[in-house]
Every structure is written in structure tokens, then in C-alpha cells.
């Protein structure tokens, strides 16, 4: 039990953080916001899954992926395919030339369901696919690149290219994927109408629970030897290799884990928002998800959630009131986070905390995981930041 407390909940400071976040997500926001806005928050929280993955991948392992939209999208499309098939029952589509297949396929003169779609008639398969398809793609891409020692900037640019490839591929195959408009008009999940307000609440709470779960799983991983290894790898990859570790396999593991989390986020997005399209898969959304993580502080799991909420709320506010200014603000945000506060919100929080609330006990790097993150982030802030 103590192990769980220390490693997963993160000791005293970690537990407090989780509790505060939980109160915010489960109590404060549902009470303070109307159903519409709460649904928006739910949407933002699905992006947070990607940001949490990036904290593992980028903040802790030093691997920057500019293509996490790929995995978010894959998870989303898997869920959307199931939901679309359910919504395209013969009864619902009886006015089509070919009833029983999704509307966009009918418009493209398809006469039967493509082979790729058939397994998605079954919920267990779709559920598994949400997690496994992104992980499998990450496995292939990661193994190919990390084994060849492709890293740093090269890796980032290639992930960007892959995001572009996937979004163009989806876009150009309307018959198969719904094309640019994506997959829309989703109605029920196993007979349960997901468009009602009750359903939206249920989905919101499910999303929060899974997000907290993702954070706890990440904490657990980081508290093991692998956590220390990833930090070492970020610092001195060669030395880790000569200590007898196959560096590539660890990068692949973290990449797959981050991909799986992003996939879950994508699926929850589809359930809450009701559609998916290539606009969530390509270069722009992928790099935006990086800024969510960076805003929160790329070393901080909790920060990832706050960063995502903050940036997206800002985006909504700007878009409603000063649409011309939003891109300026976003661009400025990218630059500011990189140059002025590289440890994001978490870094600011840490420096405020140590300045005003430090109790004189030095944070031991051997103990709690959040303390490792804190010490690392403070140390990094002091040394001017490293990529």
C-alpha cells in the first residue's frame, strides 16, 4: 500500500496534486458550467490524453513527436467506424441505393462494405482497436526509426511528414474514410443514445476518470527503474547504451504507450463531440498538442492537463471575441514558452512554491516521482533549459 502511495500517487505532494485536479474535474467544473460548456471541457480533456503521452515521450525521454495527431486520429476513427456502422443500420439507411452502409459510401457509389470496415461491426474489436491500432503503428514506425538511431530533429520532421501523409490519405479516399468531411452523424453506442445531455455527462465523467487513470499509469511507469532510465537516456544516450541497455526498445515502448493514450483520447473525442475528420490528424493539430504539453510544463503530468485546458480555453475566448488575433497569440505563445518559461506552468508553480512555501527540507531525488520532476524542472530552469 505504501508502494502505491509513493509510486503511483506520488507521495504527499503528488497526492495533493491528483486530489486537487480530481476536485476540479469531477466537482467544480460540472457544477460551475452549463452542459454545453462542460462538453467543450470534455473535448479539451481528450486532447489532454495526447499531452500526457507527450510528457512521457518528450519531457521524460527527450523524443519530440510532431505527429501525435496520427494516433489520436486512429483511435478516433476506430471508434467512429463502429459508431457509424451502428448508425447505418438497414432501417436507418433505407433510402440509400445500398442500405446498410454509411452514407458517404453510398454517395461514392460503393455497393458493399469495404473489407477494412467489416470487423468494426463488433464493439470488442473496435474497443481493442482504439488502443492497439495506434500502438501497432507506433511500434512499426518507432522500431524502424529508433533502431536506426534516427532521433531529435529528424525524427520530429518525419513524424510531421507521416501526419501529413495520413491526413492526405484520409482526405483523398472519400469512399473509404469519409474524406475531408470525416465521419459524421453518429447516434448510438450499443443502443445508448450518445447525443442526449445525460449521455454527455456520463461520457464527461468517464473521460475524466480515464484521464486520471492515464496519469496514474504514467506515474507508475516513471517511478520504476524505467523512469530513471528514461531520464538518463535523455541526458546521455550513449552512456546508457554502454551500460548495457538497448536504448531503441525503450524509446519504442514509450512511443507506443503515448500512442495508445492518444488513441484513447481520440475515441473519447468521437464519443463526446460526435464526429472525426482529417483536420484532427494532420500537421497543425499535432503540433498544437505539443504546445498544450509545453504550456503545462513538459515534465509535469498534471501540468499537461492544466496546459491543455488553459490553451484551449484561450483559443475559444479569442476565437469568439478577437478572431484575427488568435493566431498571433498562439504564435506568440509558442515563442514565449520556448524562450521565457520552458518549464511551463509547472515550472512557474514550482518556483513560486519553493520561494514562498519551502519548508527547508531538500527534495530528495531518490524518493518521489513528482519530486524528481520538480527537481529536474527547477534545475533545468536554473541552467537555462535543455531540449
Amino acid at each position: 500500500m505504501k508502494k502505491f502511495y509513493e509510486n503511483v500517487l506520488g507521495g504527499r505532494s503528488g497526492s495533493i496534486g491528483i486530489i486537487i485536479l480530481s476536485i476540479l474535474l469531477f466537482a467544480i467544473l460540472p457544477l460551475a458550467l452549463d452542459a454545453f460548456r462542460l462538453n467543450l471541457v470534455g473535448k479539451y480533456l481528450t486532447y489532454a490524453f495526447v499531452a500526457v503521452g507527450l510528457v512521457l515521450l518528450w519531457g521524460n525521454s527527450g523524443v519530440l513527436s510532431l505527429g501525435q495527431g496520427i494516433f489520436f486520429g486512429l483511435g478516433g476513427y476506430c471508434m467512429a467506424m463502429f459508431l457509424k456502422l451502428e448508425a447505418s443500420s438497414v432501417e436507418n439507411t433505407k433510402i440509400q441505393s445500398t442500405p446498410g452502409i454509411p452514407d458517404f459510401m453510398d454517395w461514392n457509389q460503393l455497393t458493399h462494405l469495404p473489407a477494412m470496415w467489416v470487423p468494426f461491426k463488433h464493439f470488442p474489436f473496435a474497443l481493442l482497436a482504439v488502443v492497439l491500432v495506434p500502438a501497432l503503428v507506433a511500434l512499426i514506425v518507432g522500431a524502424a526509426m529508433f533502431k536506426r538511431r534516427v532521433g531529435g530533429v529528424y525524427f520530429a520532421v518525419i513524424t510531421q511528414a507521416l501526419a501529413l501523409i495520413l491526413s492526405l490519405g484520409i482526405d483523398g479516399n472519400q469512399g473509404l474514410t469519409g474524406g475531408r468531411n470525416g465521419i459524421t452523424d453518429l447516434r448510438t453506442l450499443l443502443g445508448w443514445d450518445i447525443r442526449t445531455q445525460t449521455a454527455q455527462y456520463v461520457l464527461y465523467f468517464t473521460c475524466c476518470a480515464l484521464l486520471i487513470g492515464a496519469i496514474l499509469v504514467s506515474r507508475l511507469v516513471l517511478s520504476t527503474r524505467m523512469g530513471r532510465l528514461l531520464l538518463a537516456m535523455k541526458d546521455k544516450e550513449d552512456r546508457v547504451r554502454f551500460s548495457g541497455y538497448d536504448v531503441a526498445s525503450f524509446k519504442v515502448f514509450v512511443f507506443c504507450l503515448a500512442a495508445a493514450m492518444s488513441g484513447v483520447g481520440g475515441a473519447l473525442f468521437v464519443l463526446q463531440v460526435g464526429f472525426i475528420s482529417p483536420s484532427l490528424v494532420g500537421i497543425v493539430p499535432s503540433i498544437e498538442m505539443v504546445i498544450f504539453a509545453a504550456m503545462g510544463g513538459k515534465h509535469s503530468l498534471l501540468g499537461a492537463v492544466y496546459g491543455t485546458l488553459l490553451v484551449n480555453t484561450g483559443k475559444s475566448l479569442f476565437s469568439e471575441n478577437f478572431p484575427q488575433l488568435w493566431l498571433f497569440a498562439m504564435g506568440g505563445l509558442f515563442i514565449a514558452v520556448v524562450m521565457l518559461f520552458p518549464d511551463g506552468l509547472a515550472g512557474i508553480y514550482e518556483s513560486v512554491r519553493t520561494r514562498f512555501f519551502s519548508k527547508g527540507t531538500k527534495e530528495k531525488a531518490t524518493d518521489k516521482v513528482p519530486a524528481v520532476n520538480a527537481a529536474a524542472s527547477v534545475a533545468l530552469a536554473e541552467t537555462g533549459g535543455k531540449s
Binding site: 538511431r149 505539443v290 484575427q324 506568440g332 535543455k386 531540449s387
Partner: protein, 314 residues
Amino acid sequence: MQFPNAILAEYTFSEIKSIFVMQGFAGLSLFSVLLLMALGLAIIFGQMGVVNLAHGEFMALGAYMVYLCSQITADHFPAFQPYYFILAIGVAFVVAALLGAFVEWSMIRFLYKRPLDTLLATWGLSLIMQQAFRSIFGAREVTPTLPEWLMGSFKPTETIDIPINGVFVMGLSLLLTLGIYIFMFRSRTGLHMRATVQNRTMSGAVGINTGLVDRFTFAMGCGIAGVAGAAFTTIGSTGPDSGSRYIVDTFLVVVFGGAGSMLGTIVSSFGIAQAQSVSEFFLEGTMGKVATLMAIVVILMFRPQGLFPSKVRS
């Protein structure tokens, strides 16, 4: 997605030859634009290790400058109309280079040891520039009035149609490539640039002002992008997001050619441009681009150092 064989069967052999030639020339225009973009980027990335995701926006800046020159000439100096274009290219270079120098001074020089952060910061810059274009020039695409001598085409045979602007752009690219080569490898400033990149401390110790050299190098890379933009106006219209359309391609070109090798950049941009334009003809629209990109990525996974890697002992 139709299979290529079905399409091929529709044309006669001589028609196919003509298609290849014409696509070849279409590919050459694309090649020129990619080459100019890639050269600028190769200088910045290959030489300095700096990743400039806003490079496409510098290209767009060049294009917009040409448009601006075109408008000014039309409004105030109509007699000058046939001649303004060459001057506009110069303007594009200078404006892009100046902005590049400013960006280096205010932002890039703090990030030299942090390549991943440079990625993010320059992405932010690209957003700002895109919005600036949108606010100043409007969201719709614009085209400068091209001079008469750029319009039209050669017709060596019945079925082959070679556009003059394509030839012009290609000529400009090759000229510029040659110019860059001479500058980098035969001039004193070029020597300083290469020295600074290879050994900064020593260069400083022998009296080279490495800070200025860095600024100059970055500015030059951006200036070349500006010229690419000017060239681009002859083959397409310019909008706020025109730059982002080519940025990924350009990076792949540089990485595929082997960052740091000029020959690699040239060969790579040629190969990729041709591959893309031929495949675009046979596969529907964007799928041609997808196929080319996929091929490049797969090849890069097997040979990440590119075609002409630099043989430096680590």
C-alpha cells in the same frame, strides 16, 4: 483509386511520351521551387543545425513582395511594367533577408543548442507571419501581373507544350545555385561561414565575428527563400498559407539529400519533384503526393543519413 494500368491503356504510346515530357517539365517547375526552398533551408539546417519551420513563410513573403511591387508599378509607374519583375526579385531577396536577420537576432541566436525548441519557436513565428499576411493582404490568393515575356509557351512538337515561365524559373534556380556555390566555396565570406559552422570556438579565436556570421548565414537562407517565392509567383497564386504547403516537402528534400551536401540537395529536389509530378498524373490528385512522401519516408527509415551523407568522423 484507379490502377495505373487502366489509365495507361487509354493513351497511345506517343501520347504517353508527350505526357512524360510535359509532366517532366511540370516536374521541372516544381523542381525549381523545391530546389530554391531547399537550398535556403539546407544552408540554415545543414550548415547551422537550425530548423526553421517558418521557412515557407519567408517564401510567401518573397511572393507577396513581388505582388506588392506589381501593384505599385501598376498604380504609379505603368511605363515600367515590363521591367519591374527583375527588380521585384531583388526586393524579395532583400526584404526576406532583412527579416531573417532580425529573427536571428531576436530569437534564433538564443536557441542554437536547443534544436527541438527552435522547431517550436519557428512554428510560432510561422503562425504570426501567416496571420500577418492574412491581415495585410487578405485571406484570398493574389497574383502579381506577370510581364508579357513570361507568358506563353514553346511548342517544339504538336503535343509538347513547354511554358516559358517554367523555363525562366528553372534558369533562375540554376543561376542562383551556381551563385551560392561560388559564394560559399570561393569567397572569403563563404569561407568564414563554413569555418564558423565547423568550429565555432576556433573561428572566434582567429577573429571571425561568429555572431555576425550566423546572422548573415540565416539571413541568406531566408533571402533565398524569398527568391523562391518570387519564382513561385510565376507558376501559382499566393495565399497566407502557401508557405505551409511546401515546408514538409522541403525538409524531406534536405534530409533526403543528406543535410550539408549541396549536390545532395540538388539531386534530391530533382528526384522528388519528378516523382511527385509523374505520380500526381497517374494517381488522383493528392494521392500522388502521398505516394511520393511515403516512398521518401520509407527510404529515409532505411537510410536516415540521406543520399550524400557528410563523411565526418564523430
